[in-house]
Structure formats: C-alpha cells, structure tokens
C-alpha cells in the first residue's frame, strides 16, 4: 500500500472503477455471442447490451401507483452498492489506495446490502411475482452466503489476511503452488457465483416464465432509467464475480506497479482471462438444463461442502506438519 495518498494512485483507482462499468455490458455481450454460436445462431452484436442500456436510459421511467419512495430509491442503492463492491476487487493492479477497503467481508456485506434492497423493491410493488421473486432470491442468498464466506476464509487462512490485495500479493509471491484448498475454494466460489449472478442451473436470465424466474421477477415493474440501472447492476455483479475468480485464483499478469506498461499488461491479461471464463460459462449453460427451484438448496449445499473441504484440507494437508 505504498501509493496511499498519491494523486496517480487515486486516479487509477477511479479509472479502474469506471472501467468496471464500461466493461460489464461487454462481458454480457460476449457471453451471449458465444452462447449463440454454440447454438448455431449468429447472435446479436457484442455492443447490443450497450444499445439496450442507452435505449432504456432515454425512455421515460413509469412507476406504479402502489409504490413507496423506496421503489424509486432502490435502483440507485442497488447500483451504488454493487459498484462499491466492484471497486474493492482489483481489476488491473493490486496496490491501489482503495486496497485499504478491499476486504472480502466488506465485499460480501455490500453485495448483501444490494440484495436486500433488490428484494425490498420486488416486494414493494405488491404484485405476486415481485414477492415470489424476492422470496426465492432470499432463499438462494441465505444459502449462498455461508458457502461464499467459507471459501473466503480458506483464502484468508492461506494469506493470513482478509484483504483482497494482500491475498493476491501472497499468491503471486508464492509462485505456482498446487493447493488442494484453493482447488476446493475455487469450486465452491464458482458454484456460488453461478447462483448469485442468476446463471443457468439456478436461474435463467433470459426467461420471463412465471414459474422459473427469480431475478427477472423482481424487475418486472421497473422501466426506463430505473430498469437500466438494475440491469447494469446485474451485469456489474457478473463482472465482479468473474474478476474475483480469475484474479484471486489465477493472478498472473495483474499489474504490480502504476506504470502504463503494467496497466496495459494487466488490462490485456484480465480481458483474456475473463473471455476464457465467460466462454466456459457459456459452454456450461449450453450443456446444462435449469434445475427445479427446490434443487437449488442441494446445489448450494454442494458449494458449502466444497468450501468446507477447502478449509479442512488447508488445516489437514497444508499446515499440518
């Protein structure tokens, strides 16, 4: 954290968090493109998510009569909390001034805040779908959070810190080490990420079918800029989890200084890694079918078990003797 209070450090921190917002729709566009290709379609252009957001921002926002001010405030809170959470995850370089708040438990807390307001907004309208979506979201959230925390503790025990920057630093300075605990934590975190970002075995982001939708059900009453913010927050969350996975478990290439060369290399590395991860996710979504909602607890139990085994194998195999 040597760059604390230097102007360039803060500049890059701001640049990085703006980059998060700029890249998030691109990741979704790429994911849709790969998925379309796998299904023998041409698919929309990579820039389509940007166009959708632009269109929504230009439209008038309609709000139902039955809503309270909370409904209007929720998109801003959800977006800001998710963006704050994203700003804590190192994207290009590790030693930024924001590293001081880059704590994994803060990250989990910010995401929980966003989730609570999303669920409240879903219930606020008073429609049946909103309440249903909110209750499902909270079910998934309540089961995913312990699994995520366990995975996080596994990382923290290896690096002796819950700070993301130091976890990545520690991993980088060790070089290439095969850790059974990291393997399990990676598995657990991938399952949690799939559940939390509403990807296919748990929730289908493209469906508006009453029986199956979770995330979409809460957004049904939103329109205009509110909907744009909510969509952008969801895309940001996907990018956040993707970056968390690739930069913590495969940190090679991330910049360690503030020179333009390090930044460029970091950007190139993270884009390549995210593209590969999203392609893998697209393959997984093409191969798997959506589970019934009542199978979701079993899915998240598996995530919890993996994270727990990560913790245990760290204690047994890595610190043991």
């Amino acid at each position: 954290m040597g760059n604390f209070l230097t102007g360039s450090g803060w500049g890059i921190a701001v640049f990085q968090s703006l980059l998060y917002v700029a890249l998030a729709p691109l990741l979704v566009g790429w994911l849709r493109k790969v998925k379309a290709r796998l299904q023998n379609r041409r698919g929309p252009s990579l820039l389509q998510p940007y166009r959708d957001l632009y269109k929504l921002l230009a439209k008038e926002a309609r709000v139902a009569h039955t809503t309270s001010p909370l409904f209007r405030a929720a998109p801003y809170i959800v977006f800001t909390a998710t963006w704050m959470a994203a700003a804590t995850v190192p994207l290009l370089v590790v030693d930024l001034p924001t590293a001081a708040i880059a704590d994994i438990i803060v990250l989990v807390g910010l995401l929980a805040l966003a989730r609570v307001f999303l669920a409240l907004a879903g219930m606020d309208v008073g429609t049946a779908f909103g309440g249903m979506g909110a209750s499902r979201e909270m079910l998934i959230g309540a089961l995913a959070e312990p699994a995520m925390l366990m995975a996080v503790f596994t990382l923290a025990m290896t690096a002796h810190s819950t700070n993301l920057s130091s976890v990545i630093d520690h991993h980088l300075s060790d070089g290439f080490v095969l850790r059974p605990s990291y393997l399990f934590a990676l598995g657990g975190l991938v399952l949690v990420a799939i559940a939390e970002t509403g990807r296919i075995p748990v929730d289908n982001p493209t469906t508006h079918l009453e029986l199956t939708m979770v995330h979409e059900a809460m957004l049904l009453e939103y329109s205009g800029r509110h909907l744009a913010l909510m969509e952008l927050a969801a895309q940001l969350k996907l990018l956040l989890y993707g970056t968390l996975i690739v930069n913590v478990f495969f940190p090679w290439g991330i910049g360690q200084g503030l020179s333009p060369a390090a930044l460029g290399l970091g950007l190139a590395a993270v884009v390549v890694k995210l593209a590969v991860l999203a392609a893998a996710l697209a393959v997984g979504e093409t191969v798997l079918a959506k589970m019934r909602l009542f199978r979701a607890p079993a899915f998240l139990n598996l995530a919890l078990l993996l994270s727990l085994l990560g913790l245990l194998s760290h204690v047994i195999l890595e610190v043991g003797a």
Partner: protein, 228 residues
C-alpha cells in the same frame, strides 16, 4: 511445514489425496447407483494415480506395478462388474433417497475432523509430509463405514465397503511406501473374490426378498416353507 517448499510432485500428491476425500463425499450423497459406481471408479483411478506419484517421488519401482494393478482392478474391472450386475438386476434407473442428506454429509465432515484429531500426535512426531495423508485415508475409511450404515441398498453398501478398502490402500501407500508385493497381490485378489461373492449374494438376495433393500431383511415373513 511450508507447502511452497515441497516439490511440485508432492503438492500434486496432496491435491490427489484431497480429491479422493471429495469423491468419498460424492459416493456418500449420490442417490443414483450408476453415478455412484462411476464415482467409485474415479476414486480407484485417483488412488492408482497417488500410488504412481509416490512411486515416482520415492523411486520405489514395485509401486508402479501396484498402481497398474489398482487401476486395472478398482477403476476398471470392479466398476465394470458392478455395472453389469446393476444392469442384470434392472437397477440402472434406481434412485435411493437418503433420509436427511445434509445431516449425513455434516456427519461425514465431523468424521474428517475426528480423524484429523486422531492423527495429530503422529503429525507432531515430525515425520514426512505423507503422514498428513493418513488423516485423509482414515477419513475415507470412516466415511465408507458411514455409507454402509446409512445406505439401505445392497449395491451402495458394497460401494461403501470397497471405498473403505481404497482408504486403507491409500494409508498403506502414503505411510510406508507400499506393502510388500505379495501382500498387495493377496489383498487385490481378496477384493476381487469379495466382489464375485457379492455378485452371487445380490442375486440370492433378490431371489429371496425381491429387492436389494437390506432393511427388508429385518421384517418377519410368514412364508417359511413354500418352495417355488
């Protein structure tokens, strides 16, 4: 011990051992028989891989032979026999519901912690890093036992028994650089003979109670003497 100081092959050994433990959990919670047999086959293959890696790190040549034997028997032959048996008994689509899967899994986690606690004095006695794997193998043995207790289906119980044997083999390989070849051959054929006997036992069981659910052996039946 610092993991980063170990050579890459020994780190690989730890990873393989950890995956063997994970497969024990998969076996325990898998309700489909065919998938459980596949998980068992993978566990056998991983135990064989552990044996091969120990052979490579310690330059113990006879372990290559026992790795090949393990691969042939536990990853190919026995799963194939079980597969054929389930097909013959028409159990391919059979699913068995555990009463409370989450509770059983947590019990298995408790067993892992317990076996670590048992092995702790040995680890403190400053021995080689492979001693850590003893905790894992003990846990695999205990989880196999738990599986035999909680599963009521005879084929699943046999899988539990066989995975216990996997755990014992893992312990032998990691702690002592393998048993003498004669002992290993004896154990391997023991397992094979046990498998053949289990096959006969399944058929008999099905003939007499029309099911492989061993809980039904506890019930009294009136029909003592009617021969078919």
């Amino acid at each position: 011990m610092n993991l980063t100081l170990l050579p890459l092959l020994q780190q690989l050994l730890l990873v393989l051992a950890a995956i063997v433990l994970f497969l024990s959990f998969v076996l325990l919670a898998q309700v489909r028989l065919i998938s459980a047999i596949h998980a068992f086959a993978w566990q056998g293959a991983l135990v064989a891989a552990v044996t091969a890696v120990v052979a490579a790190t310690g330059q113990v040549h006879h372990l290559y032979f026992s790795a090949a034997l393990t691969l042939a028997l536990k990853a190919l032959l026995i799963p194939w026999m079980l597969h054929r048996l389930t097909r013959r008994l028409e159990l391919e689509r059979h699913t068995e519901s555990l009463q409370s899967p989450a509770l059983v899994t947590m019990g298995a986690v408790a067993l892992v912690i317990f076996s670590y606690w048992l092995v702790l004095p040995m680890i403190h006695a400053e021995m080689t890093f492979t001693r850590n794997i003893i905790a894992i193998s003990l846990a695999v043995v205990l989880i196999g036992l738990l599986m035999m207790v909680f599963r009521t289906q005879a084929v699943a119980q046999v899988l539990g028994f066989m995975s216990m044997e996997n755990g014992l083999f893992l312990a032998a390989v990691s702690a002592t650089d393998g048993m003498p070849l004669v002992v290993e051959l004896g154990v391997a054929f023991d397992v094979l003979v046990a498998m053949v006997l289990f096959g006969v036992f399944f058929l008999q069981l099905r003939d007499s109670i029309d099911s492989l659910d061993v809980d039904r052996l506890n019930r009294l039946r009136e029909t003592g003497g009617d021969s078919q």
